[in-house]
Symmetry: C2
DNA sequence: ACGGAAATGTTGGATATCCAACACATCGGG
DNA sequence: CCCGATGTGTTGGATATCCAACATTTCCGT
C-alpha cells in the first residue's frame, strides 16, 4: 500500500548502468572496469553514477543481486512449500547462477557473491517457513532460514569442488532426507 | 569549429526512442505503432517525445535517415571520387537498405522513404562533385547532384521491379557507361 | 449516428541528470 | 624520490526530463 512510485528516470538510469556493467563484465575483469567505462557505455554522466551507487562495489553487489533475482523469479517461490521439489529448484538456480558468473571474471569477490546468494536464499526460506509455520515465533524461523541458506550455499560449494559431473539435482537429493527430517513436522 | 556540443541527455534519449521505434517496426506495421508504445519501450515520458519530434512522421523520417546513414557510412565516401566503384557501392547500399526495410512494414510510406534516400544521395554526390570540379559554380553541381540522386534512385526502383535475380552490381554496371560519359571530363 | 475510450499534442512547475571544477588517492617511469 | 597521468568522490548551478492535467481528435462498438 505504501505507494510512492520511484521516478522513471531513476529506473531507466539504473537499468542503463547495470546493463552496461554486466556487458563490460563479459569483456574485462572486474578489477579492470572503471567507473568512467561504465558511464560512457551507459551514456550517463559520471556524477549521476554516484547519485545511485556508493561506489563500484555497491554496483557489483546490486547488479549481482538483480541477476540472481532474475534467475530465481522464473521459479515463483512466492506461495510454494518448502519441500523436495522447491529445494532442488533452488539448488539448481544457485548452481546455474554460479556457472553463469564463472564465464565473467569476478576473481577475488567470491565473498561478495556468496553473501548475496545467502541473503536472497534467506529471504525465500523465511517466506516459506512463515507460510508453513504461522504459529512459530519469528526469531526461530529467521534463524532456521539463516541456517538453511548457509547450508544450501555450502552444498553448492561442495558440488563445485567435487566436480565428478553428477547433476545438481542428483547431488542435492542425497542431502534432502537430512534436511527434511530436521525441518519436517 | 562551431562547437556547441549537444547535451548527452538529448543524444541518449533520441537513441532510446529511435531504437525502440526500429524494434517495434519489426513487430508491427507502422500504422499500428502508437507514440505511447514507443515511449513505454524507450522508458521515457510521452511529453519528452514531443520535445524531440514533431510527430510520429517526423520520427519515421529521422529514424530512416539514421539507418540509411549507418548503411552508407560503412562505405566512407568522404574523400572518394565519383567513379564506377563508388557508384556501384552507392547503388548496392540503396538496394540493401530497401531490402532491409521490406522486412518491416512501411506500406504507404514509400514516398517518404524515396525522398530520404534521394536527399542523402544528393548530399553525397554534391560533396564528390565539389571535390572533383572545384572550378565549377555551385548551382551547376547542385543540379547535377539532384539529377544523379533521382537517377540512381530510379534505377533501384527498376531493379526491384525487374526482379530477374540479376545482382545489383551487374544491374547498375549496364548503366554506368552512360552516367560516366555524361559526367566524365 | 452517437458516445465512450484511446491517441494526439500542449503546458507549468518539480526533479533527475549534466557540467565544470575541485581535492584527493594511486600508480608507473625517469 | 617525484612527477605527470589516471581514477575516485563531491559540489552548485544549468538544463532535460517527468508529471498531471487539459483540450482536441480519432476510432470503434452498439
Amino acid at each position: 500500500m505504501t505507494e510512492a512510485k520511484t521516478d522513471p528516470r531513476i529506473l531507466r538510469t539504473r537499468k542503463l548502468i547495470m546493463d552496461s556493467f554486466i556487458d563490460l563484465s563479459s569483456k574485462k575483469e572486474f578489477k579492470d572496469i572503471t567507473i568512467k567505462d561504465i558511464t560512457t557505455e551507459a551514456m550517463i554522466n559520471r556524477a549521476t553514477f554516484y547519485y545511485h551507487f556508493m561506489d563500484i562495489y555497491d554496483l557489483l553487489d546490486k547488479a549481482l543481486t538483480e541477476v540472481l533475482l532474475v534467475n530465481l523469479n522464473g521459479k515463483e517461490y512466492e506461495n510454494s512449500e518448502l519441500n523436495e521439489e522447491t529445494l532442488i529448484s533452488l539448488f539448481t538456480a544457485i548452481t546455474d547462477f554460479q556457472t553463469s558468473l564463472s564465464t565473467r571474471c569476478h576473481r577475488g569477490y567470491e565473498d561478495t557473491i556468496a553473501r548475496i546468494i545467502r541473503d536472497q536464499l534467506e529471504v525465500i526460506f523465511f517466506r516459506m517457513l512463515e507460510l508453513q509455520h504461522p504459529e512459530e515465533v519469528e526469531e526461530g524461523l529467521k534463524l532456521s532460514a539463516t541456517m538453511l541458506s548457509w547450508g544450501l550455499y555450502g552444498a553448492s560449494m561442495e558440488w563445485r569442488r567435487s566436480s565428478d559431473s553428477v547433476s545438481p539435482e542428483e547431488f542435492i537429493k542425497t542431502a534432502i532426507p537430512y534436511i527434511q527430517n530436521g525441518i519436517g513436522n
